[in-house]
Symmetry: C2
Subunit: 303 residues, 2 copies
Amino acid sequence: MTSEQFINKDSITSFFTDLQDRICQALTEADGAGQFREDSWQRPGGGGGRSRTIAEGAVIEKGGVGFSAVYGEATQATLRTLNLSTPADFYATGVSIVLHPHSPMVPIIHMNVRYFEMSTGQSWFGGGIDLTPHYVVEEDAQWFHAYLKNVCDRHDASYYATFKTWADDYFFIPHRQETRGIGGIFFDYLKPSDDTHKAKLFSFVQDVGNAFAPIYTHFMHKNRDLPFGEPEKQWQLLRRGRYVEFNLVWDRGTKFGLETNGRTESILMSMPPQANWTYDFRPEPGSCEEHTLGLLQKGIDWV
Amino acid sequence: MTSEQFINKDSITSFFTDLQDRICQALTEADGAGQFREDSWQRPGGGGGRSRTIAEGAVIEKGGVGFSAVYGEATQATLRTLNLSTPADFYATGVSIVLHPHSPMVPIIHMNVRYFEMSTGQSWFGGGIDLTPHYVVEEDAQWFHAYLKNVCDRHDASYYATFKTWADDYFFIPHRQETRGIGGIFFDYLKPSDDTHKAKLFSFVQDVGNAFAPIYTHFMHKNRDLPFGEPEKQWQLLRRGRYVEFNLVWDRGTKFGLETNGRTESILMSMPPQANWTYDFRPEPGSCEEHTLGLLQKGIDWV
């Protein structure tokens, strides 16, 4: 799809279904043992989705790659946000991914690309990719951010700096005063001014979606055989607890979905297979765990 | 303390500190191996608390018995709720407990008793006890509710029915369409009309607080040695996942605490030591797990 083509919700939806297929195929190949199972579901108010989940793979312990395209009457909250005073219909489509690996040496990853359109004419894109290593390794963080910066720079010189800061702010756990991981990019309300602009924005969103598989399979291959022991496993389970805290307490998408009667099993595909909590755990001074905590902060310039 | 005595925030606070002591002692004796560790903490805006936590006991795997007495300037949200247009101070004190046992045959329990007072004169009591068995056993549920009804009936013939319904409504997980457990009693905004009434309300809250240790040690002793296997353990871990979902997504106290910069480790003492999530888990037809799900509904008359 080039930026000259006319972009509408059908061509965007079609790209997202294909993206889900391609990502599942790349992950299955890289994992080598796990298989995705698919649940197709329908939304009572209109539309539906395909939830693809994987469990007990060779690398991925639990994960989901979801596609959805839902539509219907917009809620009062949506109408208020858009300053609309009369009823209108919405159309929303996207791909969402969270993967939890077995090994604490392989990072958790999240990706989302989405498109929203109103019958009154407004439309916008949103999305992002962020990485949550259980142990932050500087050169991996640099590689990840450089990859994203390269994707961004192909479209707009201001994107990376803006969307990196947005990710730092979004993936932050106020009650822990920690970022969820090393961030990445996050963007929302990218509103096209005309068809040409819409094609440009879509081209960027396509590139973000297409970046997911090469980024994560890189870490799967590179880190899957790194040695670790029981202390690293315990730390991973505590960090997954933080992931749960972020998603259930602060993540706007999760909260919105659960509060508006979304499909619970699809929304909570992001939950880890297992998470632990220990009262007031504090890592040893000078340990790798303490080093990681020191890097779970906003505003680190990785590139 | 009899209902003839003058009740004020000092006498209430004093009862709560003593209640924490007595409950920790009763739990330590019943557990036989675990010991509580205490963290005293101070709130920057005024007051503080004593968080007592236990881990890896013989029966209790992880739990907390918290006392706090905090005060300071009321937030704008509090002032709005009370229809107050000028600044005012608040005082809040209470005891909160959540205990997670090792065995899936022993229930999770939660108790809270609290008192809130404004410098402008308003005051009220709140609290409750609710039980979350991993497996609902009818006769245990009946015993638990009969015990609470007896406590309530000593004070007001309408209390049990009202507060049992309130617990059903409060401890409900909308996105799962399940109650958290078998409920119990929940009450809030019990506002005294005069000193005599305040003494009566306090006497009720004291009885609720005093009911906690006999209720839970009953289940500790009765169920601690019941046999179970890996399937029951796995089910327990999934039910703990639901406990996490309720507390982080829906529990008003937890949300309020995390969003208003409360002491995170004390608020999240309620988290289980370990919780699991499996995509779209469905119990076998006719299984004990399915039987339990059928009883995690509002409106069951256990007494």
